[in-house]
């Protein structure tokens, strides 16, 4: 009996130490700025509350016609990520509701290794302190969720060639 108690104690200590290891703490403490939602459209339920969900794949004409879907578009449509009942939320493949503030949980279902790297601070930009409080960005801050390829941009001017330096 005594032996059993000792073993349980050890297991408990092991579990607790794992829970409070620095990396676990870091993951619990993910600080992100608010998601890039447009005030014109959010909260979605202001319009969608009175509408019947239409899961049909179609060309959007009246609203959201600026959305260009280039994200596994052959297999995806709105309701795969947006929740039909509660438009203010997203949902995972298993139907669990996900807040826009935690949209990385949704993205990470397919992009597991990227989520892992993001949590470790390797994928995506981190700002703040290298030895303290850090700020992350959500996936959607850099990647348009509907068309996630990072957009090309105009580079800053090239350095002067040696001949042109005065």
């Amino acid at each position: 009996m005594k032996k059993f108690g000792l073993a349980t104690g050890f297991i408990a200590v092991f579990l607790v130490s794992f829970l409070f290891s620095p990396r676990m703490l870091a993951q619990q403490d993910i600080q992100v700025p608010p998601p890039p939602l447009s005030e014109d459209f959010f909260p979605c339920m202001e319009c969608h509350a009175d509408m019947d969900p239409n899961p049909e794949r179609r060309v959007l004409e009246e609203f959201h016609d600026d959305i260009e879907l280039a994200h596994d578009e052959e297999n995806r449509w709105c309701m795969d990520c947006h929740d039909a009942e509660n438009r203010n939320m997203l949902h995972s493949a298993s139907g669990e509701l996900i807040k826009f503030e935690e949209s990385y949980k949704l993205c990470g279902q397919c992009h597991g290794p990227k989520l892992r790297d993001w949590k470790a601070g390797i994928h995506g930009r981190r700002t703040g302190m290298w030895n303290g409080q850090k700020e992350y960005l959500l996936c959607a801050h850099c990647h348009n969720p509907h068309s996630p390829r990072y957009e090309s941009m105009k580079p800053e001017p090239a350095p002067l060639k040696p001949g042109k330096i005065k």
């Binding site: 790297d117 981190r126 030895n131 990072y150 090239a158």
Partner: protein, 304 residues
């Protein structure tokens, strides 16, 4: 046995006495020509590493007044010491960098680099995907409408913060050295401008001040470090310091914070939970010109 002694007689003008007298007179004249007390102190300042805490405090105060007078901005010059138990490392994700050069210009502003003649501590090289990392066929002067350009990738080069730095060995006066936290720094006041370090650096990471430093008043960064971004002098050599003025306060270097794709990573190599250690343990990493045994602490990796 008697030792023959040179008799120092003021009347006897032999070659030795003449030279001694000439040296004394000319150095006195030089000091007198320095004019102000401040200029004299600057002239007589010893190398940074041999200064006591009191002397450092005086030097910093002198520099602050000098800079304020010269640039019309109130400067703080710190000499903050390394944080114990730190050894800095840097990693750059080659698969992410798009060659936008935002880091180049953010670095110029953060570190008060002279605008004319132009100086860039970071040089972004465009390389052909077909050729891989190949300096011979790289292009520093690419000028596309948009980046990334098809079939190309980008490799920014700056000081590699070597553990075995050839520049430090090349300096004849000991004006450059690696600090305890692993940053190769320059004492701009002790540098004689011989540029031996520039010849020794295999990465082209050291830069020379050909003229008096030119800054735009509105873009000056007044938060400076003695060994980092304080305004430099004509004839002094300078280089990337991992933003010593930021990292010794626990902040990320400027280029890390400004990179739009998050390709730049920085941290403490002695901390097993740091980002930099995660990269070294989990990603494919390379260093530049490994065969030279410079042992850079600036790693390139493939994040994909």
């Amino acid at each position: 046995m008697s030792v023959k002694k040179t008799v120092l007689s003021p009347n006897k003008l032999n070659r030795r006495n003449f030279l001694k007298a000439a040296a004394v007179t000319s150095s006195t004249a030089a000091l007198a020509a320095c004019g102000s007390k401040e200029a004299r102190e600057e002239f007589l300042q010893r190398d940074f590493r041999s200064l006591s805490q009191d002397q450092i405090a005086k030097v910093l105060q002198r520099l602050e007044t000098q800079y304020e007078r010269e640039y019309g901005v109130k400067f703080t010059v710190s000499a903050k010491e390394p944080i114990p138990e730190t050894f800095f490392g840097y990693a750059l994700d080659i698969s992410r960098c798009i060659g936008c050069r935002k880091c180049v210009y953010a670095c110029v502003e953060e570190n008060n680099q002279t605008l004319e003649p132009q100086m860039h501590w970071i040089q972004v090289l465009e390389m052909e995907k077909e050729k891989g990392v190949d300096f011979l066929h790289s292009n520093l002067y690419y000028d596309h409408e948009e980046v990334p350009h098809e079939g190309h990738f980008y490799l920014p080069v700056q000081c590699q913060q070597c553990k075995n730095p050839p520049c430090v060995k090349a300096c004849p006066v000991g004006a450059t050295w690696a600090t305890e936290d692993g940053i190769v720094v320059v004492d701009y006041n002790w540098c004689i401008g011989c540029r031996s370090c520039m010849a020794a650096c295999p990465y082209g990471a050291r830069h020379y001040n050909w003229g008096k430093i030119q800054l735009e008043a509105e873009n000056i960064n007044p938060d400076t470090h003695y060994l980092g971004n304080r305004p430099r002098y004509k004839g002094a050599v300078e280089k990337c310091t991992f933003c010593i003025q930021r990292v010794r306060e626990g902040r990320y270097p400027k280029c890390v914070e400004v990179c739009p794709v998050g390709a730049r990573k920085f941290g403490n190599l002695l901390d097993k939970d740091s980002e930099i250690r995660y990269i070294l343990e989990n990603k494919r990493v390379l260093i530049l010109k490994e065969e030279l045994n410079t042992q850079p602490k600036f790693y390139y990796f493939y994040g994909t």
